[in-house]
């Protein structure tokens, strides 16, 4: 469920991110495209404006030259008409025309009715006169002569190279001349050098690499930067070079039709724009060709830079978004883990709390014990533990503190608590419980965690406390006449090394005496300035008369007040046990009744072992007692009653602080075993009697053996062993 939630959150973030990227890209792209098209339009308009302006200006200049020539010719025309029959005068007129007009190179009046054409032209700084009327030239078939007559008006010839006059590009303006009778008598011409045109057009510089072209009415290239083309090619010719015949044909047609316009074409793989217009009267067309790159190059380079920057920007946005989403996802995962951990900690806490007894008072039916415990964990789960239970009138209890905190500590705590229960189920000696627990924990201790542990077994009948410490804080003995730390052997904590020997200790509790056990979370509790609660404060609170719950509550309150809001750094666990048995006996009795059957001996052995454990005897003494009892009891079983008859043997054991007494009683025939002669243990094998060792062993093992025959007819044998 949590994972789904996380995924959907991440997906949401991812979708959001994607949306941001798309919106950014679209916005940037749209801006860039708009900007591009807008600048293209501006540039296009600008180039058009500039080209058309230049075209118009240049045409104006050309027209002015053309007008100048036409006017000059027109002005001389009247004189020519008047002097048509006077060749000398005609020659003078042409000379004057050439002299007066710098753009006019030469002039002739070619007669129609006779073969006569005086021609004046510039040579260096003078004007020379010659004649065009020669058979070689045959002026009457020249274009400048034929066309005006055809058209009956002024005519600008196709440009041509003047071979005679110094290789100049020329054009001729010619008009028909009528005589006084209205008959066409001659053709009057003005040759115009087109050098000025080349210069004029060459000056047109719309863009650095733009160029201008002027073509004739016939499509002949008159002016062009590529001089090899001039007068040798037509626009039509260029079409085949460009490989774009259709476009060039179109251009050709448009230009030759005298229209104005603009078009574009590809030449040598590069796009060019062409603006063209016709030059009035001459039938020429002028065009300005601008390479595409010239107009849009900068804008396109700028566009490329902008696009690149935009791509970089988008890449950065994507990167940032990716990182943000990733971070978000990581955060989600951390958050999810935290939630899960918290949940699991809660469960772990529940399990942990269910392991330790926490119902108080735990034994409301008992008046001999008053106890209370409290755990204040630092984190959700802690590594502190306590446990207790009563078996055979003995209170088994323990307190421990696992190194470390949190879940690992709590797991070790759980193991420790289970081990305590398991091991103490068969053991009454704290020393053996602690030793077994240590061995088992050291063997499986791969995480190197250890546990300080204190284990005690309190005999509720007599207040005898046996305890074993494994590196834990010494508990406090709280008595009516004062309090003191229970003397403890420090020993090593559990889990450090297998095979360790732990020392057991013991003490006797008076009625009303309390044992206060705690973990270092108490004395090491800190306030905001890192001062520790300390043992003195703890000792001040401990009072013998105080009930266990009240006392523990008091300590908790005191620590809480002391901490004054400072965070609790360690678990705080307390266990307070007050021994309240006012009728505690100095003696403990155990009782056993046996039949006079030798097969009952093993039962006797069990009984003796139990008593020996009660008196905390070692293995050697336990076996000696067993031997003595067996000898005495088997003696009764075998000899006290007549063969085949049923009888009982009563065995009573009294465990005192300093002695152990066994009392055997039976209803059999009177028999005083103490009266038997002493066995001689110094005899040789051959001389040693097989029997007689039984009572000898009894006497040797026990410190005091007394026989009495009771008034109600019982053999009573009392055997006492002193305990040091």
């Amino acid at each position: 469920m949590a994972r789904k939630k996380m995924d959907s959150a991440t997906q949401k973030a991812a979708r959001m991110g994607l949306l941001i990227v798309i919106v950014s890209v679209v916005t940037l792209e749209a801006t860039a495209i708009l900007q591009y098209f807008y600048s293209q339009r501006i540039l296009s308009e600008e180039s058009t404006r500039r080209a058309e302006g230049q075209l118009a200006a240049t045409e104006l200049k050309i027209s002015s030259v053309v007008d100048q020539v036409e006017t000059a010719v027109r002005n001389s025309l009247w004189s020519v008409q008047q002097q048509i029959n006077r060749p000398d005068s005609l020659e003078a007129i042409t000379v004057r025309l050439v002299e007066a007009n710098p753009v006019i190179f030469g002039s002739t009046v070619a007669m129609t009715d006779k073969n006569q054409a005086p021609y004046s032209y510039k040579q260096a700084d003078t004007v020379i006169t010659s004649s065009l009327a020669n058979a070689e030239y045959d002026y009457k078939h020249q274009e400048w002569y034929v066309k005006p007559l055809e058209l009956q008006g002024g005519y600008w010839s196709e440009p041509y190279y003047d071979e005679g006059g110094g290789n100049m590009l020329m054009t001729t303006y010619s008009v028909p001349v009528t005589d006084k009778r209205g008959r066409v008598a001659a053709v009057f011409t003005a040759d115009v050098s087109l050098d000025w045109l080349t210069d004029l057009v060459g000056e047109v510089q719309v863009y650095p690499s733009a160029f201008s072209m002027v073509v004739s009415r016939e499509g002949q290239i008159m002016v062009c930067p590529a001089e090899t083309l001039v007068m040798r090619h037509t626009v039509q010719d260029l079409a085949s070079t460009a490989g774009d015949t259709a476009t060039f044909n179109q251009i050709n047609r448009s230009m030759l039709s005298g229209a104005a316009g603009a078009t574009s074409f590809k030449f040598e793989g590069k796009k060019h724009y062409m603006f063209f217009d016709s030059v009035d009267k001459t039938g020429w067309a002028m065009s300005i060709v601008i390479p595409h790159n010239e107009i849009y190059g900068k804008a396109e380079r700028l566009g490329q830079v902008v696009s690149l920057l935009m791509l970089l920007g988008i890449a950065m946005i994507i990167l940032i978004l990716y990182r943000t989403i990733k971070n978000q996802r990581d955060m989600n995962r951390i958050e999810e883990n935290k939630h899960r951990l918290e949940g699991e900690l809660k469960v772990a806490r529940g399990i942990q709390m269910s392991m330790i007894p926490k119902i108080f008072p735990p034994y409301p039916e008992r008046s001999d014990i008053d106890m209370f415990a409290a755990v204040v964990p630092a984190k959700e789960v802690g590594g502190d533990l306590y446990d207790f239970y009563i078996r055979d009138d003995k209170l088994f209890f323990c307190i421990g503190d696992v190194s470390g905190k949190g879940v690992p500590a709590s797991l070790v705590m759980a193991v420790t608590r289970s081990l305590f229960r398991t091991v103490s189920a068969h053991e009454k000696s704290p020393q053996r419980i602690v030793t077994a627990m240590n061995d088992s924990m050291s063997d499986m201790n791969e995480s190197n965690m250890f546990v300080t542990f204190f284990c005690g077994v309190l005999d509720l009948q007599n207040g005898h406390l046996r305890y074993c410490n494994a590196g834990h804080n010494a508990p406090v003995l709280v008595k009516a006449d004062g309090k003191a730390f229970l003397p403890v052997e420090p020993n090593l904590p559990l889990g450090i090394m297998p095979g360790m020997n732990f020392e057991e200790q013991g003490t006797d509790l008076e009625c009303g005496t309390g044992v206060f056990l705690y973990t270092d979370g108490l004395n090491e509790a800190e306030n905001p300035v890192h001062a520790q609660f300390g043992e003195d404060r703890m000792m001040d609170i401990l009072k013998a008369g105080t009930e266990s719950r009240a006392l523990v509550d008091k300590v908790v309150t005191s620590v809480h007040d002391f901490a004054d809001g400072a965070p609790q750094s360690d678990d705080l666990t307390m266990l307070y046990i007050r021994f309240m048995n006012s009728r505690k006996t100095e003696e403990t009795e155990r009782h056993l009744i046996l039949h006079n059957d030798i097969q009952q001996i093993p039962q006797l052995a069990e009984f003796v072992e139990e008593v020996a454990e009660l008196a905390n005897l070692d293995v050697g003494l336990t076996m000696s007692l067993n031997l003595a009892l067996e000898e005495a009891v088997s003696n009764v079983i075998m000899y006290a009653y007549p063969k085949g008859s049923d009888g009982l043997v009563d065995v009573e054991a009294i465990v005192r602080k300093d002695s152990l007494e066994f009392i055997l009683s039976d209803n059999g025939t009177p028999f005083d075993p103490t009266a038997a002669p002493e066995a001689d243990i110094t005899l040789d094998v051959e001389d040693r009697p097989i029997g007689g060792l039984g009572i000898f062993l009894v006497r040797n093992i026990m410190d005091e053996v007394k026989y009495t025959r009771s008034d109600d007819g019982k053999n009573i044998l009392s055997m006492t062993k002193k305990l040091s």
Binding site: V619, A679, I690, L693, I701
Partner: protein
């Protein structure tokens, strides 16, 4: 209580396992009869796993010892625990038996 008798190289060994108390002494005595029958050989009482011995057990030991003495055999008591050694000492058995540690 368990008795395991083995014989090797003229040596008869009886391994005693468990508690030798009065209740089982008759059975053990019967189980050890082969040793008394072969009292001319070397007899070994392996007490490594003997947990306890009562006077009735000691009587069996003494019986075997006497039989061996009569047939000039030899009895070795092997690996007795400190507690049983204590009983042996108390009863003067230490002087009657050759005690060996393996």
């Amino acid at each position: 209580m368990e008795v395991k008798i083995t014989e090797k190289d003229n040596v008869m060994t009886a391994a005693l396992v468990g508690r030798l108390d009065t209740a089982v002494s008759q059975d053990v005595a019967a189980a050890l009869q082969p040793l008394i029958d072969n009292a001319d050989k070397t007899l070994v009482l392996d007490c490594k796993e003997l947990a306890y011995i009562s006077s009735s057990g000691l009587r069996i030991f003494l019986t075997i010892r006497k039989a061996a003495a009569a047939k000039s055999g030899k009895v070795i008591v092997r690996d007795i625990s400190p507690e049983i050694r204590q009983v042996f000492m108390m009863t003067g058995f230490l002087n009657l038996f050759e005690i060996q540690e393996s």
